[in-house]
């Protein structure tokens, strides 16, 4: 009874997880990596078809006459403009316009939405729903989810779905059937590649897994853990709660909080939408006055880094996976920000980071320096601010 929960795919994933590399995610055990080395899993995302168990994602079904009104009020997107079958990525804020969490809103029908979140939000949603005709149900433990990512995923899905997914556009969803089992398929993911998320009833989980694994065998389907996904999401410029920002509800001190603007989410803040939404006034003010911080991409200059290692007679040594640790960013000798996740990109052959920089250092093209450790010594490697995402294949939205 004191064990963490296992996902509906556990019977399959546990049989495949060679290194016994498990990670905690929202009270569940999920596979960190299936193999001893991450390479094949990473490349399955970028070159084939990666099957990732994302069941621990927190999921709410929001249903009722006021469902759209509630989400319109809570999130920063213009929910009333969403069509049935549309999915929207969004953050939501507190009254001060600071981010509480982020996730996707899917309009399943006129009055039913699914909201995903990194952390529990039922209390916050309920507080905002006072007086509304709406029912909020957490379905995290009832709905299993697979993230199916990579350039070959469409071909594999078309082999098993009742209706083809060719017409399914980026950030849209469809009801479909796999071997007669009802599923919802959304063209979404956390990798910045072509990809889908498949939502199903728990009881169908193993059957869907097996069907995909069989159909995908000729297309390089590979079960992939969350560590490889972590590398891909940095390349895609996607951030993570509790790693790249702190929820306003958890922050101890004011500077730990971030606004959507500060996280580069300007495009998700619909200040032109009708009516009140939580944080509106603060966000309008920030928009007017400009943000002091911004999350940007950082590319470490390899030659500069190589020089620092060469001084001690070593080739550059950087971890072969994403590192969730804060690294100071300097301009001259003054700290002007920090990197929250850094990773080696096997595809770009670059050392990249998601970094939070102060004005004016967040402008694209700015030269800064990032802390690295060279043989136990702190050094600072030259780096440049670049546009996010680092990687966006042409087929992502096609």
């Amino acid at each position: 009874m004191f064990n963490l929960k296992t996902t509906p795919f556990h019977e399959r994933t546990s049989a495949l997880c060679q290194p016994q590399n498990w990670r905690k995610w929202a009270g569940y055990f999920v596979v960190g990596s299936y193999e001893h080395v991450l390479d094949r899993e990473y490349w399955a995302i970028r070159n084939a078809a990666a099957l990732i168990d994302v069941s621990p994602l927190i999921k709410y079904i929001i249903k009722g006459k006021d469902a759209a009104n509630l989400l319109h009020r809570v999130t920063t997107r213009d929910i009333h403009k969403m069509k049935v079958g549309q999915v929207a990525y969004t953050g939501w804020c507190d009254e001060e316009g600071k981010m509480i969490d982020d996730g996707t809103v899917s309009r399943l029908d006129e009055t039913t939405f699914r909201l995903t979140a990194a952390e529990p939000n039922l209390r916050w949603l309920s507080m905002n729903a006072v007086g509304m005709e709406v029912e909020i149900t957490e379905v995290t433990d009832e709905v299993a989810a697979l993230s199916f990512q990579g350039p070959n995923t469409r071909k594999v899905l078309n082999k098993v779905t009742e209706s083809p997914v060719d017409e399914l556009k980026y950030f849209r969803l469809m009801k479909n059937k796999i071997k007669g089992i009802e599923v919802t398929i959304s063209r979404t993911g956390y990798t910045g590649d072509l990809g889908y998320e498949i939502w199903m009833d728990n009881k169908d989980a193993l059957k869907i897994w097996d069907t995909l694994m069989e159909a995908g065998a000729d297309y390089g389907i590979t079960p992939v853990g969350i560590l490889a996904m972590d590398m891909a999401r940095v390349e895609a410029g996607l951030f993570m709660l509790d790693v790249d920002y702190t929820s306003a509800t958890h922050a101890w001190i004011e500077p730990q909080k971030s606004s959507p603007f500060e996280l580069g989410l300007d495009w998700t803040v619909a200040l032109d939408k009708q009516g009140y939404f939580v944080g509106r006034r603060a966000l309008e003010k920030e928009k007017r006055e400009g943000s002091v911080w911004k999350m940007v991409g950082l590319e470490v200059d390899w030659v500069g880094m190589e020089k620092l290692f060469k001084q001690v007679g070593l080739p550059p040594q950087i971890p072969g996976m994403a590192v969730r640790g804060s690294l100071p960013i300097l301009s001259g000798n003054v700290q002007v920000g920090y990197a929250s996740t850094s990773t080696w990109s096997p595809l770009l052959k670059k050392y990249i980071a998601l970094a939070h920089l102060q004005k004016p250092y967040f402008e694209v093209g700015t030269d800064v320096r990032m802390e690295i450790t060279v043989e136990h010594h702190r050094q600072h490697a030259p780096a440049k601010v670049v546009k996010l995402p680092f990687y966006e294949p042409e087929w992502k939205k096609k």
Binding site: H36, D39, N47, K155, Y219, G220, V303, P315, Q317, K349
Partner: protein
């Protein structure tokens, strides 16, 4: 209409030619690449010989491609993806196998099964080799100085070599001196007792040479193959997406983005010389193209004995190029498969998608003696009855290489001597194919019924298709008397040639072959230094 006046003409659209062109264009030069074939890439090409099956026809792995080229030309942006090749699997004659996996502990445990002593020695050996490779790595990007010259450039170059030599520890110096002169068999026998381990390691010392593992000098070639492992996160061996054509393709894209003009189906007849300088080329169709500089990315023999009238070159230079060893010793068999061959040493169930051994290389190298015997056949002009094979299954690494559910097998085979007794013909080619299949059959009995198509490439075919004289995969063997300031010939190892305005930047120049791109890059830099 395209004008026929350029800053630089590159003869040959192999990867070195493309790299040189890209670097020159990056410096603002107007460059054209002239390629004899209908596609560029040279020996780094991928072709669909059977519909749906893509063959990485000649070269098949990447590891030595210089990191600075990847960076400078932004090759990932232009499509370069290097996929992992995680293991090497050596089936043994007694039905067992020896494997090196991508996890250090797994490999140690696997070696331990064969010899606890070797399992420990393996780590130390790897460290010694990596240190030696690291120690000599600075030489790769050095313009080889002429030790007999008193020019400032050469003196500075020699100084660099001297600095490098004095930077080595005594131990490193001895290791390198030994590596430079030893046979790979002698080296490996100092370290290991497991035959399959010694055989597999020794194999990388003979690739592309016409030597056996007991020939002195092969330890150096072994070291050459360690160079890829010392660039930190840039990593070791891999398989490029879409095969070696994917490497060339990304360089082509980069070059074109930089404004390089590419002309295919464009054979060069002769370099045009005026007042003792190269001033352009004359094509086979009689057209002329003018340029301040001409660089050949062909092999040394074509570059100097075919493209240039010999009256423009000193006699001793010509003799020296004539003597340059380009004995092709290897072939390639590319096979389209309906299903995967199943190795009895580690069989799979079902269709083999999850078979770990098929993800990496499969090496037929059960012992040093096995390879030496294969060499014995070749010494006397015969195809090895039981050849050394280095196989990979590109369709397992990159499913796009074959139709869904089917596969391709890329099989490097040595020895297949260029100078075969009686000369190469269809029958000899069939004999080579049969030697390969019957060898694989010993370890994977179902191979024959998996085959739906087969392309056998002899050294003669390498010469005919890729245009490499002698069919040597390195454009000339990596022998001690053919490297560094001796490559391709003394006094002319700095990418310049006795003919003013004519440059040479391909695998036959320093630092040699292996899809490094270094020769092309260094030649381009020298051209720019000369102020073109």
């Amino acid at each position: 209409m395209t004008s026929n006046q350029y800053d630089a003409i590159i003869i040959g659209g192999g990867h070195n030619g493309l790299v040189a062109a890209a670097y020159l264009a990056r410096a603002g030069k107007k460059v054209v690449v002239l390629e004899r074939r209908h596609i560029v890439g040279g020996a780094a090409v991928t072709e669909e010989i059977f519909p749906g099956f893509k063959f990485t026809e000649f070269s098949y792995v990447v590891s030595l491609l210089r990191p600075e080229i990847i960076r400078d030309l932004e090759l990932p942006k232009h499509g370069l993806k290097i996929l992992p090749l995680p293991s090497t699997f050596t089936p043994m004659e007694n039905g067992d196998y020896l494997a090196a996996w991508d996890d250090h502990d797994l490999t140690r445990r696997e070696l331990y099964r064969h010899s606890p002593k070797d399992a420990e020695a393996y780590d130390e050996y790897a460290r010694v080799m990596a240190r030696a490779a690291k120690a000599i790595k600075p030489i790769i990007n050095l313009i080889p100085p002429d030790p007999s010259s008193l020019s400032i450039r050469d003196m500075l170059g020699l100084l660099k070599v001297g600095q490098f030599a004095t930077s080595l520890s005594e131990k490193e110096l001895y290791t390198i001196a030994k590596l430079a002169t030893q046979s790979s068999a002698d080296l490996l026998e100092e370290w290991f007792e497991t035959d399959a381990l010694k055989g597999t390691k020794a194999a990388s010392g003979i690739i592309g040479t016409f030597l056996g593992p007991r020939s002195p000098g092969t330890a150096y070639v072994l070291l050459h193959h360690y160079m890829g492992e010392i660039d930190g996160a840039f990593r070791a061996w891999g398989f490029a997406k879409n095969g070696s054509g994917g490497v060339s393709g990304s360089i082509l894209n980069a070059a074109q983005a930089l404004g390089v003009e590419i002309r295919v189906n464009c054979s060069v007849n002769q370099v045009k010389v005026k007042n003792g300088s190269a001033v352009g080329v004359i094509l086979e169709n009689g057209d002329e193209i003018q340029s301040k500089v001409v660089m050949s990315a062909a092999d040394p023999k074509r570059t100097f004995l075919q493209f240039v009238e010999q009256k423009y070159l000193p006699d001793d230079f010509v003799t020296s190029i004539q003597n340059f060893r380009t004995r092709g010793s290897s072939g390639k068999v590319n096979i389209a498969l309906s299903e995967l061959p199943n190795f009895t040493a580690l069989p799979f169930e079902g269709k083999g998608h999850d078979s770990v051994l098929h993800r990496g290389a499969v090496s037929i190298s059960p012992s040093i003696d096995y390879i030496e015997r294969a060499y014995d056949d070749a010494k006397y002009g015969q195809i090895s009855k039981r050849p050394y094979l280095d196989m990979i299954f590109p369709s397992i690494i990159d499913p796009d290489m074959a139709p869904p559910g089917q596969h391709v097998l890329s099989c490097f085979v040595q020895y297949a001597p260029y100078d075969i007794e009686g000369g190469w013909d269809d029958a000899k080619r069939d004999q080579l194919g049969e030697a390969v299949i019957s060898t694989i059959e010993q370890y994977a009995p179902n191979i024959r019924k998996c085959i739906v198509g087969m392309q056998v490439i002899s050294p003669k075919d390498i010469e005919r298709i890729a245009g490499i004289t002698g069919g040597n995969i390195f454009h000339g063997e990596l022998l001690l008397h053919q490297i560094f300031f001796l490559r391709p010939t003394p006094q002319w190892a700095d990418f310049r040639t006795p003919l003013k305005g004519y440059y040479f930047g391909a695998a036959g120049a320093h630092p040699g072959g292996g899809v490094m791109g270094a020769a092309g890059m260094l030649a381009a830099k020298e051209i720019l230094k000369d102020g073109v």
